[in-house]
Amino acid sequence: MSIVLIGLNHHTAPVEVRERLAFPEGEVLSALHAMTAREAIQEALIISTCNRVEVIAEAADANELRNFLYDLKDLPHNSLNKHLFQYTDTDAVKHAFRVAASLDSMIVGEPQILGQVKDAFQRAQQAGTVGHTLTRLMNRAFAVAKKVRNETGIGANAVSISYVAVELARKVFDTLDGTTVMLLGAGEMAELAAKHFITNGARRLLIANRTLENAQSLATEMNGEAMSLDDLERRLPEVDIVLCSTGAPHYLITSQQINQALAARRYRPMFLIDISVPRNIDPAISDIDNAFVFDIDDLEAVAEANRQERQREAQRAEEIVQTEAQRFAASLGEGNLNQVIGVFRREIHQLALDELERSRKRLGELSPEQEEAIKIMLNSLVNKFTHPIIRQLRESEDGHSTYLEAFREYYHQNKE
């Protein structure tokens, strides 16, 4: 038995292939049960998201697992082979760690995948299809993901436009607590940014639109305050952050308005984001002290720089994953060693007890004290006999010595 991982993801397969192998929520349980019903598959776990379908199993044979997948999905054997990847042992462990640590994600470092993997593990736990090995593997994978997140900057910087806006604003205001945000227009990206600002501490949201009705409906939806565009100039001094995304063909906010607003608010800084094309905020505002304007290209540039930074950090994360995977695979070997020793000890012990039973007739009636004395004698004999062998086994703890292999093979055959 070894750890086997078979799957496909956005790197290896287009969506029309991925959807053919995907497991909808309702199918996962029955698939897991069907899988572990097979003799060659002891433990199994399915990760099925929009970007990947992966099966991790403790199985005797990877090919059998693959064929079983085809059967399950009613696909001809080998039909998707060029899209499938297949790993065993250390490679499988490494891949599982990479997925959990978000190194295999479309946007490297995005945090959702860890939650999805945790869900998949939980579902397999409910189904009762994960045992000792996969539980250890997944717990380790979660720990590695946490370590990667803590020790590298892989998730540190924003890579989405709407979040970059928040990050930039923090470089002006430090904290967004208590700030007032004005949302101009109903562009999707500006709306998303507004939500980010609110979840990051902004206190008030003003929503202005060409028609007051639109503003009002959006205001109820986003728990903001609707206002008319005509009031723009009057309300500007209250506003710390302006998010603008309208279809207007001209500047809605001019230098003069910002100058006045700044004077009215005693030059507390103003932060303006213009995601509209053509732009709605006069770029000349950038020349005014304490006013900071960023357009879509600026945000994109930050996002791009952050993406590159993430790539660099991903390199370091890969090193962590590599080391951890090797360590884990080695410790699996250790587990096997303990199992082998356990089996060995039990068998010898059983052997001794069996001999005792065979000799009982000739021994006649034994008092409890005698019975006890014989058991103690047998025990100590077994320990004396096994001790040097076990010590030798432990000394070849790298798990690859021929001595250990021979021993393992002997006991494997014996068990069968």
Binding site: N150, E151, T152, G153, A156, L168, R170, K171, V172, F173, D174, R266, Y267, R268, P269, S286, D289, N290, F292, F294, D298, A301, V302, A305, E313
Partner: protein, 280 residues
């Protein structure tokens, strides 16, 4: 006390190193940040001890000659910095402040001024009267505290200008990522400026009172007095425009630099010009 000072200096330099590590290495960021604070704190305690030991041994507070004064400003700077970081998180600040501290300490350690009794020009005045005896160290200490606050002001002003430039020019490099938010720089600068201005004013008043007790004159037209007046006026302008016209940000940052140049001229220039404020 040289030994204590050298150890304190090493700890300050260690702290700077850890401050750099907090930026360069994500892995050790949290741990490095702890070491930044710990080394500064232990360094500060040793530094304080060295001042106390000198005080006891000399029988007067050690802020008479340049060697002592540099060490004292360095100490005041660290003390003020420790107050600031209780409230603000500004990871780049220790690099600015502790560099200034270290330079002052190195300079102080480098000076070979012999430790000795108070120069005769002062001792005669201090011996006779308890009030003057007490007020002279207060006068000097207050002014040196003001200088320390102005160093923090100018450090934050500089950080503000660099960060503002990065934001306006849309250059999102190391400066952008390392330096604190504009509002943080601005707030620390403004508060430090107020603290510095108040202590400067009190220090000048203390000096005038001492002068009056000593020789009956508030004002001696000494170069240091004149230059201090200029410095005081620069900071007065800053406080004034902030309160009345709401000046902040870039303008305050430039004023902070202007004020600090005045401080430097007062501190260094007055020595070159001589006068009765020079005591070795």
């Amino acid at each position: 006390m040289t030994f204590l000072l050298v150890v304190a200096l090493i700890l300050y330099l260690t702290s700077i190193t850890f401050a750099f590590i907090t930026f360069a290495n994500e892995k050790f960021r949290e741990r490095a940040a702890v070491w930044v604070r710990l080394s500064v704190f232990v360094g500060f305690v040793l530094h304080t001890n060295s001042l106390i030991v000198s005080w006891i041994r000399l029988g007067h507070f050690p802020i008479i000659n340049l060697k002592e004064v540099c060490s004292f400003i360095a100490w005041a700077l660290v003390g003020y910095y420790l107050l600031v970081i209780r409230r603000y998180k500004a990871r780049a600040l220790p690099i600015f402040v502790l560099s200034a501290t270290s330079i002052l300490l190195i300079f102080s350690l480098h000076l070979r001024t012999p430790e000795g009794p108070i120069p005769s020009s002062l001792s005669s005045a201090m011996a006779d009267d308890t009030l003057t005896h007490f007020i002279l160290p207060v006068h000097v200490a207050l002014l040196l505290f003001a200088y320390a606050a102005f160093v923090v002001t100018v450090g934050c002003g500089a950080m503000y200008l660099i960060q503002e430039r990065a934001l306006k020019a849309k250059q999102f490099g190391a400066a952008f990522r390392w330096l604190p938010a504009l509002n943080t720089c601005d707030e620390i600068a403004q508060r430090s400026m107020t603290v510095g201005f108040v202590t400067l004013t009190l220090g000048v008043i203390a000096g005038m009172v001492w002068g009056k007790e000593h020789d009956g004159r508030f004002w001696h037209n000494d170069p240091k007095e004149v230059l201090t007046l200029v410095t005081w006026l620069v900071y007065l302008a800053m406080v004034h425009y902030r309160l009345t016209a709401g000046w902040r940000g870039r303008r305050v940052a430039w004023l902070a630099i202007g004020g600090f140049v005045a401080v430097l001229i007062t501190f260094i220039g007055a020595r070159a010009m001589g006068g009765y404020h020079i005591f070795g």
